[in-house]
Homo-oligomer: 694 residues x 2
């Protein structure tokens, strides 16, 4: 006969199960089976181990809990409701409805207690690794003997799908390498995927794989065995390696006709099966959303104990502040992301007499000028640090023997890099940048999107940003990447035209805390724009600005460019001036920022009356007609690049001042649009590179 405690445990667990199936039924969509299977696991984590305070979900030293298997969102919502995060039973009833805090998949920022947005598989897994990296870093930097102010675990529940995704493999390899012992992960080994048995596609030896990564592994044979789960967690806490605990479960546990089947995965059980399941569980009520008082009281009490834990930590922080005021002040600043006074006072400037410099190189200098004054800025590259200019001088390599290091070596793992950056940023206490070639942004789109969705201020340093990278060829030359990144809502694009705009891009990036930004930077050297005769680089903050206006009257034509093509446009302006044609040059480093400006400002920069407009950008023309209009001309690249020295590629693809000039004249009825000099419009590659609107 079960003890009273056991009976209560069971009642709580079945509350999670029944809430989950009822909510999915009410929404007529969702995933009931996994919450039903994992209720015991979540119960043990939340009530026996998780250091959290539902009354203050922002407590810096809380344990993090991640439901990487985000489709099982009702498991998390049930826990948040039951342990007292402020979610109500009505919110549960409104599962998956417009503007409810209980969306189909957990969304950070929408629901108190949700640590990260999950659903796209593998992301939560990697986010957790990033959180553990941040924890290790802050602990190494700020803890002092007798003052353990940062010391928490990261728990995550992962599905088969999470472990099949490559991003999780990348993150797992790095976590093992970094010996992130605070990671305690659970694999929901239910042997079921959407298409059927995991035997269809997933028969690897998962534990052995994690063992190969350097993880501690452990198996719980029965996912309903609370003591076995508890013992596994204790073993994991004691082990210095990251832990992967295999938990054998039955999807849809309790459902007489659906348990153990893929049918329990992604659709409501149905009224009849819910009734049968509640009977099988010995559930005391037929009312949907019935929550036994005892269960709620027990769970809420467990949540309330968190307040004591936090109070104890506050006392520790007090002692830390008293003993190590400077470190504590820096930690506070880091946690609140407050830029220290004078943070940007070392930023370099370049003058017209300076030698041409690649914007990636200028970025490296700007970054280092900031890093010297902002100690909680850290980052690195997916094995291209030297090329991306992302090294922090004297920052030290972050590693198992030096978690205080500020240089992150992600390895050739762009996708994990993006997801780890999200995890670190969500954790807080750090500001993170990550670099790779612009082309390889393609390997990391899912986390970039999630950073935008979560409004997390990650900074992507994307170098080698056009066919201007030259010889490495079309596999490495971005073409469609600029437009496709610009299409991500909330992601700020920054493609500076020279070294000084690059500094402004970094200045903006550091001050922008509402979402991610990316810098698009050249491999090749660019001339320093002569700001004596041109508008200041600070115009970058408005997204677009009149860099050089027409002389002697209203502009007849507007030339619009970004990044490395701005100096090409300036050249064209001179060519046109020599022929008596008045051209304005607009630098448009950020479409996102320009779009946020007032209609008035936008009309100042691009006067509606001036319809003759030519844009030039070494990227796919997608989107440019918005700025250029129906009557203008878009010079871009609607084909793949080619392996050859950069200058040759630019010339062959028509990315020349001659071509801009020719197109501008044609728009004004002064020519046929063919460049007089150079091969721009004559070579075989020219086909399709210019685009007229329909």
């Amino acid at each position: 006969m079960p003890s009273q405690d056991q009976t209560l445990d069971r009642l709580c667990i079945d509350t999670i199960r029944t809430l989950s199936m009822d909510a999915v039924q009410a929404a007529n969509s969702g995933h009931p089976g996994t919450p039903m299977a994992l209720a015991p696991l979540a119960y043990v984590i939340f009530t026996r181990h998780l250091k959290h305070n539902p009354a203050d979900p922002a407590w810096a030293d809380r344990d993090r809990f991640i439901l990487s298997a985000g489709h099982a969102s009702m498991l998390l919502y049930s826990m948040l409701y039951l342990t007292g995060y402020g979610l109500t039973l009505d919110d549960i009833r409104n599962f998956r409805q417009w503007e409810s805090p209980t969306p189909g998949h957990p969304e950070y920022g929408l629901t108190r207690g949700v640590e990260t947005t999950t659903g796209p598989l593998g992301q939560g897994f990697a986010n957790g690794v990033g959180m553990a990296m941040a924890e290790a870093h802050l602990a190494a930097r700020y803890n002092r003997p007798g003052h353990q102010v940062i010391d928490h675990y990261v728990y995550a529940i992962c599905s088969d799908g999470d472990l099949m995704e490559g991003v999780a493999a990348e993150a797992a390899s790095l976590a093992g390498h970094l010996k992130l012992g605070k990671l305690i992960y659970f694999w929901d080994d239910n042997r079921i995927t959407i298409e059927g048995s995991t035997e269809l596609a997933f028969t690897e030896d998962v534990a052995r794989r994690f063992d190969a990564y350097g993880w501690h592994t452990h198996t719980v044979e029965d996912g309903n065995d609370l003591e076995a789960i508890d013992a596994a967690i204790r073993a994991a806490q004691a082990d210095p390696r990251p832990s992967m605990i295999t938990v054998r479960t039955v999807i849809g546990y309790g459902s007489p006709n659906r348990a153990g089947s893929e049918k329990a995965h992604g659709e409501p059980l149905g009224e009849d099966e819910i009734r049968l399941t509640k009977e099988a569980l010995g559930w005391p009520s037929r009312e949907p959303f019935f929550v036994p008082d005892q269960a709620l009281a027990h769970m809420r009490a467990s949540g309330e104990r968190g307040a004591e834990l936090q109070a104890e930590w506050e006392r520790r922080m007090g002692a830390f502040r008293a003993a190590h005021g400077d470190a504590a002040a820096q930690l506070d600043q880091a946690l609140s992301r407050t830029l220290p006074e004078g943070w940007d006072s070392d930023l370099p400037t370049w003058s017209r007499d300076d030698k041409p410099i690649a914007t990636r190189a200028a970025s490296g200098k700007a970054l280092n000028a900031i890093a010297r004054r902002v100690p909680w800025l850290l980052g690195g590259s997916a094995d291209l640090a030297g090329s991306n200019n992302t090294n922090i001088d004297g920052g030290g390599d972050f590693g198992a023997d030096n978690y205080a290091g500020r240089i992150l070596h992600f390895g050739v793992r762009e996708h994990a890099m993006g997801s780890l950056m999200n995890g670190m940023t969500l954790h807080g206490g750090v500001r993170v940048f990550g670099g790779t070639f612009l082309i390889f942004s393609e390997y990391m789109r899912p986390p970039v999107r999630l950073a935008a969705l979560m409004e997390q201020p990650t900074i992507y340093v994307y170098t080698h940003d056009s066919v201007g990278l030259g010889e490495d060829g079309p596999t490495h030359q971005p073409v469609e990447q600029l437009p496709s990144l610009r299409a991500i809502p909330g992601l700020i694009d920054l493609r500076p035209a020279d070294a000084n705009e690059t500094v402004e891009a970094w200045r903006f990036a550091m001050q922008h805390t509402e979402g991610p930004v990316f810098l698009s930077l050249t491999r090749q050297a660019l001339p320093i724009l002569d700001r004596d005769g041109l508008a200041p680089a600070a115009g970058l903050r408005r997204g677009a600005y009149v860099l050089a206006d027409a002389e002697g009257g209203e502009p007849q034509v507007i030339l619009i460019a970004t990044g490395s093509e701005v100096s090409v446009a300036l050249q064209a302006r001179e060519q046109l001036a020599a022929e008596g044609i008045r051209a304005r040059v607009v630098s448009l480093p950020s479409w996102a920022l320009f779009s946020r400006e007032s209609r008035e400002y936008r009309d100042q920069v691009l006067p509606p009356a001036v319809r003759a407009r030519v844009s030039i950008e070494a990227a796919h023309p997608m989107g440019w007609h918005r700025w250029v209009g129906s009557e203008g001309e878009v010079i871009g690249i609607s084909r793949f690049g080619a392996s050859a020295p950069a200058k040759r590629v630019f010339q062959e693809l028509g990315l020349s001042a001659d071509n801009v000039t020719a197109k501008a004249k044609a728009l004004l009825g002064l020519g046929d649009g063919q460049a007089e000099h150079g091969r721009a419009a004559a070579g075989p590659a020219a086909h399709g590179t210019d685009e007229k609107s329909a």
Copy 2:
């Protein structure tokens, strides 16, 4: 003292090394170190094992050799030149120059003997797995007792970077699961990455990991030990599992000052170091690009033996043809991708009386109608087959116990799916489709791009193609995916408006063999457009067509839509007609195809004189101004979606006929652009969903 054979081996190997360093030096960019390290391995593979005929690189049953570490391209070019693929010494001298067949990274289609385009790491690894899947499938379907007409290996050389990338992990797990014993892979274990030692980020136990996947593993302690390499290959050939052979190498082998350092990786050695290296190797000449006659003769002779192997295979094929004429004919058809007569005669049609049907469901029916008549069409899903409607009825599950199966279970591995599809398609003998939700196209962008670059006819079935998927919420609702896929040069977008356009999309896809296509399909049911009053669905082939013209005169306004929004536009047309406003509706299912049409046809569909245009698409507005022009109105979604039932989301985001009508009237000066009914323009979400050009 070395034997004569050993001396000759060494001379050949050093020829590969010196050609590689000389070519990188001449180009003043590239990667000398890895070709120098791997020359012995490539030499053993090509001269002792590879079943290939340089005179006929298209021989169907050849072994495939993949240089997944594509940056080491000079290794491959050296081998292709030396074994007689038609590459000349001048081509080697022109390494990385405009239009030379020796680009920075190997490009399929540009250079005879290059089996796939590599450079983006991990892709070649996964391509090879796809090739082995195709080999296993063709062998299972066509070989008969006494007639082994398909029987070849897939060799691949992988770098550390390849093995760090998640896509390789995904493919490796599946390869182990599928027991693809024809895979013989080599890991170049040089302990160096671009940022320095692999100790910085990559210390997992690689062999143990592959063991966990079910691979055979083996180590060659010295990458210069030809007999050890040879023995390892023989062991791999004998093992029924896929094989991963660790080869310990020294990057930049032979270079006195750069060997074993990351400095040997990605830059020329320099004239001085080349001289020192040649001295250290005992190289007989100081001339760059010196090729000893003996070495060339020996390598060419090894290549020429391939002709005998192929002749022998042709004899086997002859016997096979005689004994199994039907199977042989089908194999020939498959290899040449010739659609059998009547291949499309079972394609369904829907009439206005049919119930509304989701285009994903119509796609499933079309696909099955084709699959019944095209036996070499196969494919599957990344664990969403039921939702993507990608199952071939009665096709059988492809697996280690049934390689003849036509239903591929990729698991939750979208990235690998894309790369495996490329490998299978490159291999030939199969036409492959792969499905997932449109949002998860983000996980597989690199191989989609490579399919386009390689002009491989893969078919992506992307369902749940808008916020219309409803409750799963913003993590699963695509917004920016349509424009960002449309920006990939050469990729054909197909977003059919109803079931009949979906059939046309499949008809087009099967006939389009010059590159990849994707189908963007709804989760939600769409009405069958009444073709009695509308233009036929075959208009899809031209990308856009006038679906319903204005009645009673020239159109005053053009409504342009794709996919699920076409019926919304038709509704708006009726609303406008009721108010006496003449509107034309254009269905624009494919931007790529419409862009390829003549200016004349495009002007017929979108007459330049009609400037009042409204587009509606449940996607990010990026790119729409090209069709809508400066004076039109773009209705799209420039924010993330939300979790709620689909109808509610559409309404909240302004994707309604009322909104289209209101915007159309406003353009004609007949209203303020606010929908009179519904919440379209009033709700909080409406902000930012409509976009005017600058």
